[in-house]
């Protein structure tokens, strides 16, 4: 462990991210709300903390090892989550305690979108903007952003990138140099977000709402500037735009990059993970539309299709925006929606869950085992698209799925100990671990009423889910700390 180096990088990252307190200050001035105080205080605290960690080791030169990468990334997410809570905690406009502030901040940063606030419509715009901005920064990954703008991270940047980027194949770089890869990812992200904001604006949102919601849509976050979320507008144009951009955010950005560079949309349909992801989306949508019509829910066919497509996109990528009150859908539908979030978005996307590629690999592998029962001596290569998958990757995938399910079960039980019923407990796990952010049952209307211990468990799960469990879990193995 190179603690001096870790402190230096952590400090540097905090210095950089202290400046993200500035846009809300600008918003506050623009709307003349006088709510910039908490942000300025937080800016100074973050900056000083960063400098305190950075300056003592300013001249320290060492290369970051793989192990240090895990620690830096986990520490950075936790510290940034805590610091992100400062403006909410300090501000007099938001009546929250420490636990709630941290919950809200981590929920934003991990693109979960679970909120303990109500009466959001009446909060100052600067606070609203700040929450959306947290989601946007967390979407593509704050560490990836740092790698893009801080060339001095150098080779160590790759260790950080690997510890943060979701998906089973972490070696896939878009360009030879990691800084260029990170820049390309953020450029795409910015471009897609801008497009989304413009379309929202054109569809009838105010410019402020359009920007705010584009942040939480493309980041597959889930925060809104209204209590009713997207249902506030109940506008088909806005809902379909949101559905499209949630799906775009849920697709691997490396794939977007390939399409952008190859100037051909065909690359999407050649990608096996994309096909799997979109097929699931279409199947779920069909089932839920049929379900809504079967139960004679008070929707026209158009509306049933719109709302089921929106909800499937939102739940299956772990976004959590709602176009209508999905928790009150009849029959099996809310349960199905919650379970779609376990598979989640694609690898390398902003979406949560186990990722479509892992689900697809597990599926293909199970099929192979079935074939082996029929031909015990048969040799069946596991092909995914045109690529055959090495056993090493497959083992990692199975290991991940095993740990993911174990953690889900353990935390479901822990949640029931805090007094939740089983439906609520499962939905709380999905909401946090899958970064989904909306719940059913007792938490259908928000997470304000659960106990503090449940809130802290959700905080842990949200970070674990965003960092794909292993990055966090590896810190708890004795071997990690042994010199």
């Amino acid at each position: 462990m190179h603690f001096a180096l870790i402190s230096k990088i952590l400090g540097l990252l905090l210095v950089v991210f202290s400046f993200t307190m500035m846009p809300p200050v600008a918003v506050s001035y623009w709307y003349q709300e006088g709510s910039e105080g908490p942000f300025l205080v937080s800016f100074v605290i973050t900056l000083l903390l960063g400098l305190a960690l950075w300056l003592p080791f300013f001249k320290h030169k060492e290369e970051l090892q793989t192990r240090d990468g895990f620690l830096v990334v986990t520490l950075f997410w936790s510290v940034l989550g805590l610091i992100g809570a400062l403006p909410l905690y300090i501000s007099n406009d938001v009546p929250v305690g420490f636990t709630d502030a941290v919950f809200e901040s981590i929920s934003g940063l991990t693109t979960t979108g679970a909120t303990i606030l109500s009466g959001i419509d009446f909060l100052p715009k600067s606070i609203l903007f700040y929450r959306q901005q947290l989601q946007w920064l967390g979407g593509m990954g704050v560490v990836v952003l740092a790698v893009a703008i801080l060339p001095m991270l150098g080779i160590g940047g790759m260790q950080l990138y690997k510890a943060e980027i979701p998906g089973p194949m972490k070696d896939a770089k878009l360009t030879p140099r990691i800084a260029e890869t990170a820049k390309a990812l953020w450029f795409l992200y910015l471009f897609i977000t801008t497009a989304c904001a413009l379309l929202y604006w054109a569809a009838g949102m105010t410019l402020f709402d359009a920007i705010c919601h584009s942040f939480s849509t493309v980041a597959t976050g889930g925060f809104s500037t209204h209590d009713a979320s997207m249902a506030y507008w109940d506008n088909p144009w806005i809902d379909w735009t949101a559905t499209a951009f949630i799906l775009i955010g849920g697709v691997n950005f490396a794939l977007h990059f390939a399409v952008w560079r190859g100037k051909s949309l065909l690359a999407y349909f050649r990608d096996p993970e994309f096909r799997f992801f979109i097929s699931l989306f279409l199947i779920y949508t069909a089932i839920i539309t049929a379900g809504l019509l079967f139960f004679h829910y008070d929707f026209s066919v158009d509306d049933a299709l719109r709302h089921s497509a929106f909800q499937v996109a939102s739940f299956s990528t772990g976004t959590g925006l709602t176009s209508t009150n999905a928790a009150s859908f009849p029959g099996f539908i809310p349960y199905l929606l919650v379970f779609t979030s376990f598979i989640g978005g694609c690898a390398g996307s902003t979406g949560g869950g186990m990722k479509a590629v892992r689900a697809a690999l597990v599926f293909h592998h199970s099929i192979r085992e079935l074939r082996r029962l029929i031909y015990p001596n048969g040799v069946f290569a596991l092909r995914f698209g045109r690529q055959s998958i090495p056993d090493r990757v497959l083992q990692a995938v199975w290991g991940f799925v095993g740990v993911y399910i174990t953690i889900s079960v353990i935390f479901t039980l822990l949640f029931t100990m805090t007094g939740m019923d089983l439906t609520t407990a499962v939905s709380a796990v999905a909401a946090s671990l899958n970064n989904l952010g909306v719940g059913i049952g007792q938490v259908g209307g928000g997470f304000a009423n659960i106990t503090d211990s449940a809130k802290w468990m959700m905080v842990v799960l949200m970070v674990a889910g965003r960092l794909e469990v292993f990055t966090l879990l590896v810190l708890f193995t004795p071997m990690f700390w042994r010199q």
């Binding site: 150098g154 360009t175 030879p176 140099r177 260029e180």
Partner: protein, 458 residues
């Protein structure tokens, strides 16, 4: 610069490491996923798995906008075809290939041009290493000898010993000792730490001194730093592989050469090819074999097998048995630090000697030669100054006025046929070859910038 490297072996890997640290976009292609993963974990590079000469693989590695292809796989044929594919399909501007066998290289003028096999630069690591050892044998006592301007100027590293007239004196005494010989001490390494030499620097025993002089003056300068050694006569080469054979062939008419080769078949083949050399069949790590080869009267023992451990053991044994000098081929850089300077006089790293010849093609500015010194920490560069006093940062200026990066010295200037040893008042003219010594390789970029011509030139 976007560079594709074919082959993640020793040369490819070392090259990727050197170039990636110089902020190039590097993509390495190899068929072995394990080797690629190992490199990719350690370096900031892209990796592509596949056969390097297939168009699809090259395309995946970004051949469409690559500036350079360096083909250093084990197979000459793959290297050649890869360059052909890169040229025909992707119009890659520079193509460098490793071609080992003399069957191709001996016809290189007809074979390797735009109409036949479009390869811009052929490198042959075996030949580079052979030349390197040959120069060391020609300069007894030198640790390293590198050529500039076609061999008119040489940079020599020697260890200073008690008994050399200059040892214990200030550098400026050198002039008084030898009024007719012009030289410049480029750098001194004392216990591994670099010192930029000034007129009043005192040379101590055991210093590693790098000096630059015209080829004919080298011996005279060396005699100032140590008791001069007699020219070598009897050479024993252990290992008759590619390098051993080439070395034997190139020096057998001037020295008394013996080659010790393990494999009977190869020994027989060597016997047929090398008429003036005594070829012995036996193990170099066998004490009796060495004694039979008359090791106690050998001037230089060169261990050149492809096995590091065998080379080191054979060298230690040879030294103990009375060989005057031992030179050892060691690929593993970790071993070099362990053994050099104790019982082994000179450790030769094949990667480091090869890398220099490749680096000169990658560098910006008109760089003719690059030599990697002291296991890659320092570097000697021969660059050509272009432009005029307005567009260039060097032309038209006296050496003392040039804003050299820290730790860099100008050693000599070659103007046409003339060799000028760098003194503060020498003014650089257009098309001069300037020979620089960099104590810290990280300053290369600044040196490149110095020699790039400003836009006004065009």
């Amino acid at each position: 610069m976007k560079i594709i490297i074919l082959g993640a072996g020793q040369v490819g890997g070392t090259l990727a490491e050197n170039l990636a640290n110089e902020r190039n976009d590097i993509t390495v292609i190899d068929t072995d996923p394990e080797r690629l993963r190992e490199l990719g974990d350690r370096l900031d590079i892209g990796t592509v798995r596949g056969m390097g000469c297939y168009p699809a693989v090259l395309k995946e590695a970004g051949a469409e906008d690559a500036d350079m292809l360096i083909a250093v796989t084990n197979s000459d044929e793959v290297n050649m075809i890869a360059c052909q594919v890169a040229y025909s399909l992707f119009r890659t501007p520079s193509k460098i290939a490793r071609i080992r066998t003399a069957h191709y290289t001996s016809r290189s003028d007809k074979l390797f041009n735009e109409n036949a096999l479009p390869i811009d630069v052929i490198i042959s690591p075996e030949q580079v290493v052979t030349d390197y050892i040959k120069r060391l044998i020609e300069h007894p006592g030198a640790l390293q000898v590198v050529n500039f301007a076609g061999g008119r100027v040489q940079l020599v590293a020697v260890r200073a010993y008690y008994g050399g007239p200059l040892v214990g004196n200030e550098l400026r005494e050198l002039r008084k000792h030898m009024p007719n010989v012009d030289t410049r001490v480029a750098a001194i390494f004392r216990r591994g730490r670099p010192i930029i030499p000034e007129g009043n620097t005192v040379i101590e025993a055991d210093d590693e001194v790098f000096f630059i002089a015209a080829k004919n003056d080298i011996r005279a300068v060396m005699s100032e730093l140590r008791r001069l050694e007699h020219n070598y006569k009897r050479i024993l080469i252990a290992g008759g592989g590619n390098i051993g054979y080439r070395l034997g062939k190139s020096i057998q008419h001037r020295y008394n050469v013996k080659i010790l080769e393990r494999s009977p078949g190869r020994a027989e083949w060597l016997g047929e090819k090398l008429h003036q050399t005594v070829v012995l069949q036996g193990l170099a790590t066998d004490r009796d074999e060495l004694l039979k080869a008359n090791i106690e009267n050998t001037d230089v023992f060169c261990a050149l097998t492809n096995d590091d451990e065998a080379n080191i053991m054979a060298s230690l044994l040879a030294k103990r048995l009375g060989a005057r000098k031992v030179m050892t081929l060691i690929s593993n850089p970790a071993y070099v630090d362990l053994v050099q300077g104790h019982d082994i006089d000179i450790a030769i790293s094949p990667q480091q000697s090869t890398i220099g010849s490749l680096l000169s093609h990658v560098r910006r500015g008109d760089v003719v030669n690059v030599y990697s010194l002291r296991r890659g920490a320092a570097e000697a560069i021969e660059a050509i100054a272009h432009g005029d006093s307005k567009s260039s940062k060097v032309v038209g200026r006296a050496i003392e006025d040039i804003d050299l990066p820290e730790g860099t010295t100008i050693g000599a200037i070659v103007r046409g046929e003339k060799v000028l040893i760098a003194h503060d008042d020498v003014v650089i003219e257009p098309d001069d070859h300037v020979i620089l010594f960099l104590i810290d390789k990280r300053r290369t970029r600044d040196v490149e910038k110095l020699f790039q011509v400003g836009f006004t030139f065009f």
